[in-house]
Symmetry: C2
Subunit: 252 residues, 2 copies
DNA sequence: CTCCCGCCTGCCGTTACGTCAGGGTCAAGC
DNA sequence: GCTTGACCCTGACGTAACGGCAGGCGGGAG
């Protein structure tokens, strides 16, 4: 099985220039050439290219990739294990960023100020520096985002007032429920939790049950959120937290 | 609240040079200068920087970031929504890569050959191109990876024979169980599923319940895996699949 | 007043390619 | 057998996002 540069490029989803470059720097030289000088790649070359692309995606500089791949002590299985490990580390990191964004969203919704240090916490000790051309023409192209933006962009002053009113109405009802001593995992509290979720979804952003329980956790974990709800009624933060979790579990 | 370049750099986790660069290209110019020409950043500048860093991490070129941030139609909440959306898209993508790696791991374990196209499927239509300096000195530095590598590196020929023997022993027992008509969600089948998971963990890589059910799904979804197990005994693929799922649920 | 650390402005270097330019090649069709 | 368009080759220069100096002020603690 022999392939030309163009074929390899199409299969692997890279440009011909990239393959030329990898040849130049000795990262991936085709196993042979035709009499007329055309590059000929074989299956082993493709395997190597696959390794290269994974490590590249994982953020390694090409020079280092050369060293990693040429390391005779690393068999294919070792590479797979390493890549699996690196991928999960990166996913964890992105999930932390998601949490940070959700935190910021909720903070802005409740008008809570963050300190500068807090805002950059997620960038703390680890040098980010990423790129992804994939984002290029994709910007603003994700359905959910457009959806959400369309929604908010159309809000009139009137809408905002209605939103505020709905929120306050919801607040009054849950305070009453708490005062009446209704259990947080009872049907009324769960219904109000669900309503809370749907208020967010209607006015701000699609709020899944997962995101919702994330918010609930923040209400207890961060003192400013706690203070916001405790300020409305003593015990409300914990009450809402429990109700949201109970609601999420029962609907799942 | 006014900050010098150095302070901002420390807070945000970037270099002073980077801030100079952002000033040069007009992406983030400090709101003022001291009489002697020192840059003075204020809180608004920090907020802007935070936006910049998030979009940078999400892979946008700086020029585009300038356009996005200077877009007067986008309020802070819109940015948060967009970033949340982009982050989840990227997480999904990485999880696909994880699945692809797990697939490749399992394929190599069972000696199944992949076609070149399959190997690059995950890079298919979307231009990867990522970087993360974080990986730099971190390479080979993740506990689980070193663990796993230490394990495999020490295997002698004897160990490999033992591994093969254990595997075959497990195979005989599950075939017997299947032949005896024991239910796939019964205790014996679940025990053998658990043993399967622990065999992988002992010999190859730490296999969580989540990964294990992922493997089980592949056994049914991919015909080569199915064929591998069906070849041992008719109905074994589905049987193992169900047993693994039952086991994972009961231990969770 | 003196240090040393921090800040300033150039300016050149680097990585991982993109993008021509100028020219040979291959296979399909006439 | 010849054309033609798609494909390949090797330079060589361009670009983005900084890194890393050099050479020279600024500033606050002792």
């Amino acid at each position: 099985m022999a392939y030309t540069v163009g074929q390899v490029a199409r299969i692997a989803g890279v440009t011909v220039r990239t393959l030329h470059h990898y040849d130049e720097i000795g990262l991936l030289s085709p196993s042979g050439r035709t009499p007329t000088g055309y590059r000929r790649y074989d299956d082993a070359d493709l395997q190597r290219l696959q390794l290269v692309l994974y490590y590249r995606e994982l953020g390694f500089p090409l020079e280092e990739i050369t060293a990693i791949i040429d390391d005779p002590a690393a068999d294919p299985a070792a590479h797979l294990r390493r890549q699996h490990e690196l991928l999960t580390v990166r996913i964890k990191r992105l999930q932390e960023m998601v949490t940070a964004v959700e935190f910021a969203m909720e903070a802005s919704k409740l008008n809570i100020q963050l300190t500068p240090e807090e805002r950059f916490e997620v960038f703390g000790d680890f040098r980010p520096e990423e790129h992804a051309a994939e984002a290029e023409q994709r910007w603003g192209d994700t359905d959910a985002y457009r959806e959400s933006n369309r929604r908010v962009a159309r809000y009139s002053k009137d809408d905002w007032l209605r939103n505020k009113a709905e929120n306050e109405d919801w607040g009054r009802r849950i305070v009453a429920l708490l005062a009446a001593g209704a259990p947080a995992d009872g049907p009324e509290a769960m219904d109000l939790a669900e309503e809370h979720r749907q208020l967010i979804s209607r006015w701000f952003y699609e709020c899944s049950y997962e995101m919702h329980t994330g918010l609930a956790d923040m209400y207890l974990a961060d003192e400013r959120f706690t203070a916001y709800y405790e300020n409305i009624a003593a015990g409300l933060a914990a009450y809402l937290h429990e109700a949201i979790h109970a609601n999420a579990i029962s609907r799942a």
